[in-house]
């Protein structure tokens, strides 16, 4: 009992009444198609230091309805980060991406690595964390039973169960670490249009690419005003930090 409260305490941590109230009111505004007011209310929740996938998702929807595609994508990506396996979020990201101006062919990925990515993104980090804790505790319990049991009919199955649970627990920890490192990679959305991608971090450098708002880039290097970025199609270059917003 005590154990459960310890695990669940941080998950359902003190979401203040005020923020939940704001959320409900913002949803009502959205339903009345007052998207700007709804967006402002959602932003108040974020400003209060709280967030959730649902809030970011709704902010993305409001921005989309206001025609602000890059903001919508930014919020969707933030929601995706908190809840990687939410089909609603992924569907809206796909739809919003189809409306952006640039058509960027993604580099083909080996099918196994694509599958593996989808596996470790199938649950949020917190779920993996809770699962790993429960599995390890259960495994330990069975191992202790194994240590002290005298009858072979108890000893044998508890040992195998313990081994299986340990394996699953470590598997969960591994997936958690994979997901953390996946989201540790900095991404950003292009906010200005059109934007030149330069060959070097200087205004005078040669223009390599011309892209428009809404493109998602991977940030590889940060050099004060300039960021080295990579597009989904693999091309790299330098962009001004002011043209980008980090997810």
């Amino acid at each position: 009992m005590c154990l459960w409260t310890v695990i669940l305490l941080p998950l359902c941590s003190s979401a203040s009444e005020q923020s939940e109230d704001l959320f409900t009111r913002a949803n009502a505004l959205y339903a009345k198609a007052q998207y700007q007011q709804a967006l402002n209310s959602y932003q108040k929740i974020i400003a209060a230091g709280e967030h959730s996938a649902a809030v970011y998702f709704n902010m993305g929807n409001a921005s989309y309805k206001l025609g602000d595609l890059p903001s919508a994508l930014l919020y969707y990506e933030r929601a995706h980060r908190l809840s990687p396996n939410d089909e609603d979020i992924n569907a809206n990201i796909r739809l919003a991406n189809s409306k952006t101006r640039d058509k960027i062919e993604e580099l083909p990925e080996f099918f196994l690595s694509r599958w593996w990515t989808s596996v470790y993104l199938s649950f949020s980090a917190n779920v993996f964390a809770v699962c790993s804790v429960i599995l390890l505790l259960a495994a330990s319990a069975f191992l202790i039973v194994y240590f002290f049991a005298h009858r072979i009919t108890i000893k044998k199955p508890s040992f195998f169960i313990a081994v299986t649970f340990f394996a699953l627990g470590f598997c969960a920890i591994f997936m958690l670490s994979q997901q953390i490192s996946y989201f540790d990679q900095k991404h950003a959305i292009v906010f200005n249009s059109p934007v030149y991608v330069k060959s070097a971090p200087a205004e005078t450098a040669r223009d390599l690419l011309l892209i428009h708002e809404g493109v998602k880039v991977t940030v590889l290097e940060d050099k004060q005003q300039w960021l080295r970025v990579r597009l989904a199609n693999g091309s790299e270059g330098w962009m001004k930090a002011a043209d980008l917003k980090e997810i």
Binding site: P10, S52, A54, L136, S140
Partner: protein, 603 residues
């Protein structure tokens, strides 16, 4: 011999030279004009004549003049008394375009190997209508209009393209008339070229009368017989300045010829002249439709329209057909109307509309009506609503867009008889789900599941603590078990440790047997013996007073306690065989318990 030959050669040569000299002296290349003073637009003739055979004639470039015809080449060969003269003439009919003094440049030609040039001619061009030489008194408007030289027919026979307006909006209708002006009699006419009217959609106005309707009209101060040759209604297809190409016709005009004799003077003489006529090009300025206030469903209608919508029934069975009619009437580009987009409920099967035009083209433009007949078939029962059709058009006279709203129709579809058949073969008749539009998924309502930013359970110290808890517990358990095992491997120690429990069990049994004398004492005895056997590691068989006391003494047990123990054992033994005892059963039980407790304390 040789000398004679030579003489003959010289003679021949001399003769040759003589003739050559004669020819060369004769060759003249001259330019002449019919008049050196002309008005703008007036025709005149320039002739370059050469006597002799020439080639490589190069005309001057007639800058400032319009070449109406030419070069017209005429050759004449005259032979008088064996003396043959050849002359060639190249003539052009020109019209002056601008006023001022303009020079006709030199023309060149090669005659007998020599290049000859004409001298330039200075022309004085004056403005406007030149002096009319030939229309003396006769100014009758009718058929006997004028006699003029063929070159001057341009003033008495021409075609004009007349548009009712030259500045229009895109799609607005223009009535274009090709009007024939004549002051001469026309014997015959032939259409040479119709303008292709690029940039316009045109509709010809069909006349009932085959014959041209002649009337008298004054144009530029002159009276003409006028007829409309052809009338078209044009709709500009794009904005900008669009030029209407010339309309070309050839006429055979009957021109009075100057009298040659008395008979001619009396009856009048004439000759037929073939004359090609071209209408001057006409430029139409087409303005684009204003973007400002353009309605959403605008289909390009320009003019003045009214619209009505109708359905043939408002209640029907499923799978029966429903006719939805839209009638657009008025004047404007009716035939250019695009298909109307009627919002039928998605469940209705919709067919392309049948379009019936009732359009008349008149000199006022195109007017009439267009009837769209939509055939729709509701496939399922229910109450449906056909949204009102919004028909919008641009009114060029006000310069505004006008939106005509249609009516809303409520259609009640009852269960159809054929629908049962449909369900029977539902697998065959399955319909694809109609994808109407794509939109983002709706927002998430309900619990927001808020958490503090930058705080995940997976990164909190709690997580690592809990993660470590299980394995740590295992390690602790493992260590504990091993110590337990080590302890348990010493059998004597285990036995002695468990002796107390065994004794307690026996004493508990004895307590239940209180009153059952024999069995009670036996239980007490067994309990004590069993306890001692286990505690002192002596088998029950070897246990007697001596062994017990010596073993207990060895373990430094209080002498008093040993004595008490032995006494209790004696009592138990005696009580089993004799009915008299010094103590009650209860007392014995208590005593046994205290003894065991005390031994437990000491060992």
């Amino acid at each position: 011999m040789y000398k004679r030959m030579k003489t003959r050669y010289y003679i021949t040569l001399l003769l040759f030279l003589c003739t050559n000299f004669l020819f060369a002296q004769d060759a003249r290349f001259t330019a002449s004009v019919s008049s050196t003073q002309v008005g703008t637009g007036e025709q005149f003739e320039v002739t370059f004549s050469v006597n002799g055979n020439g080639d490589r004639f190069t005309p001057p470039d007639f800058n400032g003049f319009q070449v109406l015809s030419g070069p017209n080449v005429s050759n004449s060969i005259t032979s008088i008394n064996g003396n043959t003269t050849v002359s060639n003439a190249y003539s052009y009919i020109l019209a002056a375009v601008k006023e001022g003094t303009i020079t006709i440049g030199t023309a060149s030609m090669v005659v007998n190997g020599r290049r000859l040039l004409t001298s330039p001619i200075r022309m004085t061009v004056v403005k406007g209508q030149p002096v009319q030489q030939n229309n003396q008194a006769q100014n009758a408007p009718d058929n006997s209009i004028a006699e003029e030289a063929p070159a001057d027919l341009s003033k008495s026979l021409f075609i004009r393209a007349v548009a009712d307006q030259t500045t229009v909006y895109q799609g607005q209708q223009i009535v274009l008339t090709y009007r024939l002006y004549t002051r001469v009699g026309i014997v015959d006419s032939r259409l040479d070229k119709l303008p292709d009217l690029t940039g316009f959609w045109s509709q010809e106005v069909k006349d009932n009368q085959q014959q041209a309707q002649w009337r008298v009209e004054t144009y530029k101060g002159q009276k003409y017989n006028v007829a409309d040759v052809r009338q078209s209604i044009l709709f500009a297809e794009h904005s900008g300045n669009i030029t209407i190409d010339p309309f070309e016709m050839t006429f055979i005009a009957r021109v009075t010829a100057p009298a040659r004799d008395i008979m001619d003077q009396f009856f009048g003489s004439y000759k037929d002249v073939k004359y090609a006529v071209k209408s001057p090009p006409l430029v139409i300025h087409v303005k684009p439709l204003p973007e400002n206030g353009k309605p959403a469903g605008f289909t390009g209608a320009v003019g003045n329209f009214t619209m009505s919508t109708d359905v043939d029934k408002t209640e029907l069975k499923a799978n029966e057909s429903l006719t939805y009619k839209v009638k657009v009437s008025g004047s404007g580009n009716i035939k250019l109307l695009k298909d109307l987009n009627v919002n039928f409920p998605p469940d209705f099967e919709k067919y392309d509309p049948k379009i019936t035009d009732t359009v008349t083209e008149s000199t006022k433009g195109v007017s009439g009506s267009r009837l769209y007949t939509f055939l729709v078939i509701p496939r399922h029962q229910g109450d449906f609503k056909i949204d009102p059709l919004q028909f919008s058009y641009f009114n060029p006279s006000t310069g505004r867009y006008v939106v005509l709203p249609g009516k809303t129709f409520s259609i009640k579809v009852n269960r159809g008889t054929a629908e049962s058949n449909v369900t029977a073969f539902s697998a065959v008749n399955k319909e694809d789900v109609k994808v109407l539009d794509k939109d983002i998924r709706y927002i998430k309502t309900g619990e927001p599941g808020l958490s503090r930013k930058g705080e995940g359970f997976y990164s909190s110290p709690w997580y690592f603590l809990l993660l470590a808890a299980g394995p740590l517990a295992c390690v602790a358990a493992f260590i504990y078990r091993n110590r337990e095992r080590r302890n348990n491997s010493d059998v004597v120690k285990v036995k002695s440790r468990k002796a107390g429990k065994v004794a307690a069990r026996h004493l508990a049994i004895a307590e239940k047997l209180l009153g059952n004398r024999n069995e009670f004492y036996e239980a007490i005895f067994k309990g004590l013996y069993g306890y001692l056997s286990a505690k002192l590691n002596i088998s029950v068989a070897d246990l007697n007073r001596e062994t017990i006391s010596s073993a207990l003494n060895n373990r430094m047990i209080d002498q008093n306690l040993v004595a008490q123990l032995l006494e209790t054992l004696d009592i138990c033994e005696m009580a089993r065989y004799s009915p008299v005892t010094s103590m009650s059963e209860q007392e014995v039980l208590e005593k046994a318990k205290t003894i065991i407790n005390r031994i437990e304390d000491e060992i």
